[in-house]
């Protein structure tokens, strides 16, 4: 076998392996969300996670991939591997959105939105940023650097979630009419922890695979640095949140610490290959601080987000993209203004289009479960199967 073929095989293998790691984020999201919601909604949350992964990936196969990249094609690896790697991302963008509307949104309208997100909205954003670039030459053309999708995936999912929460509203009983915020605690902390660490591991494929090639000494170094920096940001995010929690409340809230780790991971995703080995400590730590501030900020606005996805994915997606413009050392191509423009253009498009699509869907098939269904829990009506049938509920 000649050297070119060996490189082709190695890069194909690398793409399929990192795609497999990314798919580990499906159970990651599922377990995280299952642990953060109440027991009466766990089956429904898991079902939504499964259906969305399938539908979004299918929509991307049938429509989205061609819209984003023009056609199936790659010279450096098997084109099927190139497709699989891109496909693995689609479910993530939509999963971010579905998690934050847990415990009150119904699956059929969410599935309809998933088709449009996977076939049109997300592929258009990929087209602008990583794909065949239909904005080329126009004044909107993006010059932002976003290696694995702080903006393209995380913020996009976050903007869609923000639109969805505005339309759907908070869980019943979450905010009283007198303005009191009622806490609805997580039901299963071990699952939250498992989910967060599955996501963390998946991130090594998410960011590492986005380097695109591992078959030369230089690209192998780039992949290893990317994964190392990814991990560092997660460590920094969890540590800083632990410290903040302890000094503020004298308690180490595990769900916040895990969200801090995830916030750090989102923040590093735009440019893990561009930083030296110490900068990710700062990028990830600021990501953790943003999570702590963000969770209570969105609560004050009465935007009810049971899993903290707005803080983790939306805010840190923005922060991570801007951080590349501040800290990355890659010549003059990357500027803060270029990064900011990317955040604004993608953000406006993702939010406005998602809002319109969700608004229309909501008129035809209401996104929100009715009162009785929500009180009883979505498990019974949506799935016909409670996740914990022998569990006695406290209220």
């Amino acid at each position: 076998m000649d050297l070119q073929s060996i490189n082709y095989v190695i890069d194909t293998f690398f793409a399929i392996f990192t795609m497999t790691l990314i798919i580990f984020m499906v159970p990651g999201f599922a377990m995280l969300e299952a642990g953060l919601v109440r027991t009466k909604n766990v089956s429904a949350v898991l079902m939504v996670n499964t259906m969305i992964y399938a539908i979004a990936s299918m929509a991307f196969l049938l429509f989205g991939y061609s819209l984003a990249f023009g056609d199936f094609g790659s010279d450096s690896m098997s084109k099927w591997a190139a497709f699989l790697f891109q496909m693995a991302f689609v479910g993530k963008a939509i999963n971010i959105m579905s998690g934050g509307v847990s415990e009150r949104a119904k699956v059929i309208p969410l599935a309809i939105f998933t088709v449009i997100m996977g076939a049109v909205i997300y592929p258009i954003i990929v087209n602008w940023s990583w794909g065949s670039n239909m904005l080329e030459g126009t004044f909107l053309e993006l010059s932002m650097y976003d290696l694995a999708g702080s903006t393209v995936i995380h913020s996009t999912g976050g903007w869609a979630l923000l639109a969805a929460i505005i339309i759907i509203g908070a869980r019943r009983g979450r905010y009283s009419e007198e303005g009191v915020i009622r806490v609805i605690p997580a039901s299963n902390i071990p699952l939250v922890t498992l989910g967060a660490f599955l996501l963390w591991i998946g991130w090594f494929g998410f960011n590492g695979g986005s380097v695109g090639s591992i078959s030369s000494k230089e690209s192998a170094d780039a992949v290893a640095l990317t994964i190392m920096n990814t991990n560092t940001a997660g460590l920094a995010g969890s540590i800083i949140v632990g410290i903040i929690m302890y000094f503020q409340y004298k308690k180490l809230d595990i769900t916040m610490i895990l969200n801090g780790a995830l916030g750090g991971l989102v923040a590093i995703t735009a440019g893990p290959n561009l930083y030296n080995i110490y900068t990710p400590i700062l990028v990830g730590a600021i990501g953790g601080v943003i999570v702590v501030i963000g969770v209570s900020f969105f609560d004050k606005l009465k935007l009810d987000d049971p899993v903290g996805a707005l803080s983790v994915h939306l805010l840190n997606g923005i922060w991570g993209t801007l951080a590349v413009g501040i800290f990355a050392n890659n010549g003059d191509d990357i500027t803060f203004l270029g990064q900011l423009k990317g955040v604004v253009v993608v953000g406006l498009f993702a939010f406005v289009v998602s809002f319109i699509v969700l608004f229309v869907i909501n008129k035809i098939v209401p996104l929100r479960a009715d009162r009785d269904e929500e009180m009883q829990g979505l498990d019974v009506d949506e799935c016909g199967l409670e996740a914990y049938p022998e569990f006695k509920r406290a209220f």
């Binding site: 605690p185 929690m245 209570s296 406290a394």
Partner: protein, 112 residues
């Protein structure tokens, strides 16, 4: 005969059972219960917001003793279940009209 109901902290159950067994009390019934007293539950922290857990988990121990054993039994339970901190629980005593052992048909104090 009197029924003694003691609502205690869950982790004190083993101590109470041990002390009562040593004093010759041969049986008791326990159940998981939830409740609160003067302290009105306790507060926990979740995602930067404090919230009150109204109903705290407790164990209810029920046993029936002869009238002459009531005071000593109460003392034993207090000694075993007391931590001195708030939420140690309460003991209630009420009269029992009749006791029957199902296996033998023995009645009242013979059946305790």
């Amino acid at each position: 005969m009197k029924k003694i109901e003691a609502v205690i902290k869950p982790f004190k159950l083993d101590d109470v059972k041990e002390a009562l067994t040593q004093a010759g009390i041969t049986g008791m019934t326990v159940s998981d219960v939830k409740g609160y007293g003067r302290q009105q539950g306790h507060s926990e922290l979740y995602r930067g917001a404090e919230y009150v857990v109204d109903f705290l988990p407790k164990i209810k121990v029920e046993l029936v003793v002869a009238d002459s054993d009531v005071d000593s039994t109460i003392d034993i339970i207090i000694n075993a279940a007391k931590t001195g901190k708030i939420g140690d629980g309460k003991i209630f005593v009420s009269p029992i009209e009749k006791t029957v052992r199902i296996r033998t048909g023995e009645e009242d104090e013979d059946a305790i």
